[in-house]
Symmetry: C2
Subunit: 698 residues, 2 copies
């Protein structure tokens, strides 16, 4: 069963069935099932094994939710400023604000160790589909099927971990159509090297988010360490000093988070009519609470910055998705695709697979009705929408660890499996500060949201609020909890009796609702997820019969390879160029009256005369990306880094559901922009030298 990337890549050729004519640049491809034929046919590009190996081994996953890449043999990593943001914030000592004002370590000794940043570097992928599927028998009840699958996945992971010492995750692909084991090297000593100010990294703020033309130096440098020394890496991306040209073929490697392209019409309808309205209303409530909190005081503003950015970014992304799902063109296309799939004559393929696929569409539709009954309660209590608080997360982890660890690994709630424990504890015992005022604001907002959704008389609401308003209950919970102190967390983790006896109000709360939360999780997993997974498995099998692996699986926050061409587009009669320039940034700031969020940092205003204003700043390409691709290296044919992906335009927001390349683009920082800024604005000769000299090793 075990195959290397190389073997898998070759075997993919046999899957055939690509419609080669006029194929779009769609696809977040598995690195073990890459689009070799497509690239050869459309772009005359030979995707070689060494090229792929480097792409994989030099790509970095930020476990906090982003991508990046090695750019020197000394473990130097580039990502987006907005991916580094959380660490920038946690690293800022009182009175400093690295997120806002930037940071530069002049020497290695000045590089700052992030309190809880974990990076993963993929080493190997192994197809374990047959092994997983073998344990699930058709006659099994959903609960048994779910348990059997969870067990076999945990066993595979545990075995792999014991064998290789590598982080080992079984990833569900095609919503249940395939299972691959991913093995990662893991780095938890990661240090901040350099970051620009948020004013230029996030220039244009929420206004320009998901827009183009853009002018953002959305980059940030970290360095991985091992045994207190900079990590020596064999594979890294050489820095391109010229960047990409018009119409040039480029590649994006990274970790797209979630797409929904293989979901059924009925599931998308549920998403549109149930899930998204709830999600949007929730995000608005959180965003408003964070904005209002930040307005109260400059210090609060600093503390709330990344939470606020995250909420605003999600809100804008989900709003775009929602608008897209109300566009009948999108939904009609989905309907037509399904009709095509379920009326295909099969060309001799097993008709039983078609029958199963057809039935699966109905099963998935029914599952939406089932989940509609308790989805909201599940989201509030189990996903934690009601408890938007780091202290609560700590409290829940502690009591669940107490309850789960005595069980065999394969019977635990999945996140407590042995192979995940190290990462989980790394987060749980993070020394990053927790600010009581921010906790209060977030908890007030989310407890209010709980009551708004379930009503003031719902038993859970009564139990949680104990007769108080959400605002005053939040005051009590935060003021009474000692969980901000890591030593207290360790004490309660080590001493089950102390945990049992704890009167910490956050612990008491987490305990009080845990039974209800677990019940909801069980229903969600068995009555909904398991049914969907079996349904999608059946549909995927039929799709493979028709298209082979000619359609990439939906994104799963695992390493993917996308490709496209660098080119501008027309909008409202205007032709937008494929790249912007430094000069454009100053013009936009000027035109917007230098008001927030269009205030370029003082460093830029002061050095304007020194800068080459024609330096390309941001560029766009048709490559297929989504959230999670933030910080993704953009590579040229030679495998050099020509850019760092940081956003999509608004036309690309619908890419969760359908790929389009007429106007949809991802947006990247141009490699030349980084060099020009590091040289002339930030005076980072060492860093520039490290990037320029990084030529060996691959």
């Amino acid at each position: 069963m075990r195959r290397t990337v190389h073997q898998l890549a070759v075997s993919t050729l046999a899957l055939g069935a690509f419609a080669m004519v006029a194929r779009s640049d769609e696809g977040m491809w598995l690195v073990n099932e890459p689009p070799r034929e497509l690239l050869k046919a459309k772009y005359g590009f030979d995707l070689t094994e060494p090229w792929l190996q480097k792409a994989m081994l030099a790509s970095v996953r930020f476990n906090s939710g982003g991508s990046g890449g090695f750019v020197s043999a000394d473990g130097l990593i580039i990502t987006n400023h907005h991916i580094g943001a959380e660490s920038l914030q946690k690293l800022s000592p009182p009175g400093k604000d690295y997120y806002r004002n930037g940071y530069y370590a002049k020497t290695r000794a000045d590089e700052l160790k992030c309190p809880d940043l974990e990076l993963n570097v993929l080493q190997e992928i192994i197809d374990v589909t047959d092994k997983v599927n073998a344990v699930v028998k058709t006659e099994m009840k959903p609960a048994d099927a779910f348990a059997a699958r969870r067990k076999v996945m945990a066993d595979i992971e545990k075995e792999s971990l014991d064998q290789t010492k590598l982080r080992s995750d079984v990833v569900t692909l095609y919503q249940g159509g395939a299972y691959h084991l991913y093995r990662y090297k893991k780095y938890t000593d990661v240090r901040l090297v350099m970051s620009p100010e948020v004013g230029v990294a996030g220039f244009g703020g929420d206004v320009d988010n998901f827009e183009y033309p853009r002018f953002n130096l959305d980059v940030c440098f970290f360095r991985a360490y091992e045994n207190e020394r900079p990590l020596k890496v064999q594979h890294f991306f050489q820095w391109s000093m010229t960047g990409p040209k018009q119409d040039e073929l480029v590649f994006v490697t990274g970790h797209p988070g979630t797409t929904n392209r293989l979901e059924t019409y009925e599931k998308l309808r549920h998403r549109r009519d149930v899930t998204l309205p709830y999600t949007l209303a929730r995000l608005r409530a959180l965003e408003a609470a964070l904005a209002q909190f930040g307005e109260r005081d400059p210090q609060y503003h600093q503390w709330a910055a990344t939470d606020h950015h995250r909420a605003a970014n999600s809100r804008k992304a989900f709003s775009g998705q929602y608008q897209g799902l109300l566009d009948s063109q999108v939904m009609n296309r989905k309907k037509a695709d399904e009709a095509e799939l379920t009326t295909w004559n099969g060309e001799g393929k097993p008709p039983v697979t078609l029958v199963q696929a057809r039935r699966a569409f109905t099963q998935i539709a029914d599952a939406q009705k089932v989940v509609a009954e308790f989805e909201r309660e599940w989201a509030l209590l189990e996903r934690g929408d009601a408890f938007y608080s780091e202290l609560f997360v700590v409290a829940r982890q502690l009591i669940r660890l107490r309850d789960e660890l005595p069980k065999p690994s394969s019977d635990r709630l999945r996140e407590y499996r042995d192979s995940n424990l190290e990462s989980l504890k790394f987060q749980l015992f993070s020394p990053a500060p927790i600010h009581a005022e921010l906790e209060r604001a977030k908890l007030t907002a989310s407890l209010t949201w709980l009551a708004e959704n379930l009503g003031g008389q719902h038993p859970v609401v009564v139990q949680v609020l104990v007769g108080k308003s959400p605002a005053s209950r939040a005051v009590d919970l935060v003021a009474g909890s000692k969980l901000a102190d890591v030593a207290e967390r360790k004490r309660l983790f080590d001493d089950a009796k102390a945990l049992d006896a704890s009167t910490d109000p956050m612990i008491v709360l987490a305990k009080a609702i845990d039974e209800a939360a677990r019940k909801l999780r069980k229903r969600y997993e068995i009555e909904f997820e398991e049914v969907e997974r079996q349904g999608f498995g059946a549909i995927s099998r039929w799709r493979f019969e028709k298209l082979g692996r000619g359609v990439a699986p939906d994104a799963t926050f695992t390493l993917r390879l996308a490709f496209g061409v660098v080119k501008g587009y027309d909008v409202d009669g205007e032709s937008l160029p494929f790249h912007t320039t430094f000069g454009g940034a100053f013009e936009r700031a000027e035109k917007q009256g230098h008001r927030d969020p269009f205030v370029l940092p003082k460093s830029w205003m002061d050095r304007k005369a020194k800068l080459d204003l024609s330096t390309p700043f941001n560029f766009v390409s048709t490559a297929d990306t989504i959230g999670g691709n933030s910080g993704s290296p953009v590579l040229n044919r030679a495998g050099e880094l020509v850019g760092i992906n940081f956003d999509r335009n608004r036309h690309g927001l619908v890419r969760n559901f359908v790929y389009t390349e007429v106007q949809a683009r991802h947006i990247a920082v141009h490699s030349a922009a980084v060099i020009e800024a590091l040289t002339k604005v930030y005076d980072c000769p060492n860093l520039v030298a490290e990037l320029k000299d990084a030529k060996a090793g691959d």
Copy 2:
């Protein structure tokens, strides 16, 4: 039946039954049923007829939703900046922003006529309860009762209008326990005299809204004109140069909008669990859309300013209400009050009234269940939550005017009754600009809200969106409509055939949904409002038996008199003084780093040295106010104006449901602050002289 204020005031004495001991300062009292005995007993104050007459005739209602008062014999009026805001915005020519930068008419010729501001001055109140109740027979079906009541009210109003030429409104008091006819003089030639900058009028913005200590010059001066000349008024408030002292008795006259204190426990529960969560989610969506729109461009920011302020203000007020209703103390107090009322032995009062009252509580509870089934659709389609657009309002008015005017006045939808037509047309044909970009943003937000609430497949959503996303549908609707042009509105109003044939997309939309909207309105009026009104009528009758008129009716945006004492309060162990000072404003700006919304205008920073920094700025009192009281004159025993009410503190947000005076306060601009600022910051000698010299006439 007709009684003047004087006669009624005297007759009130006969109602008796006041519990005189330790009575709080609760009450937004009817000016024809004033709390004479209470004031005499608690404060030794004789509420004389001339005092009351002046309070009534010098108080002004801003029909756009606020209060004010005459302060000179030449029709000079003071109100809040945030009440004048909409006019300031509409009056600003391109390139100017009076809302932001203020305005001062050095001469009367410079006073700017507001495009659509209507002021009302109450002249007389007549109790018509018996007349209204006489037409509603117990055996009537709700639909007939509703129609009969609507008819008699319209007839009374029409008769009064014909007879007196005064604006005549029958006001429903005690949720149906009493009906009074209000006669107003109406002024539609209202001119802007002076306004400070929003930076000092709204200093602290959303952060400080509903907070104290405060530092706001939230005032604005207008002048009423008649026949192109300043209105000569006999009754106006003399300006107090000293303002109020600690513990001084003060009065507030104004137009509180809505309170819910006499609502039943079950109705409040419905409010908490159904109405408020919907309202809060909606306000967040609108506020976010307006904030995001305003961020895009300084011009957009200006256009969206008052809509944005209104949404934020409502959001904060409703949030406070919601928190209050989740506080079990508030709800338990309500329950106890009801128990007391329904278990009172009656002391010989008619037991049939008690029986009716008890039954009424059940009827009202049932009505909540009924309305829950269609409240959301009603709010979206009939109240217009789905169509947050001035162009849509115009379109609906045009088609409803066409449909309603041919009917007898008393059979029309209430707002189209003859006695209201003039005011309605004054708004409909307002020449105030309508900005397409703002319309698009608002319509996008509200159409999105429509879809989120009803789902993408709801027939109304399908009908309204015609297969497009809300955003692109909004583009089409706004771009295609000519209703921003007043001439076009007049053409379609005058020519029914042209209106029938119109292909203006906004007209077509308003027509398309009108049948559904009217159906919902009918259900709402008959199945819900009528049932509630009869129920509350019965409860009120029983309450009158027990307490007489010792409890004031809930607020109805009609003139009320409140009273209280000027005093500070303790919060979190800190004693807050009864007034702040100019010096405090500069200190707060400094402490907040002079960042938005804590940026004092340049005019203030430049004149700081000239100002007496010990000048009292804002003060608080226990008087009972609510939204709608904005701009209310605050008077001393002599009937002089000592302040202008502009806000409550957060402890007062729960006053919608219960009065409390431990910490709850209303907040007013101190009269001395206005004089000091007009003199030393704004160089308005004429205005100051007019205020100082205004001694005659009353």
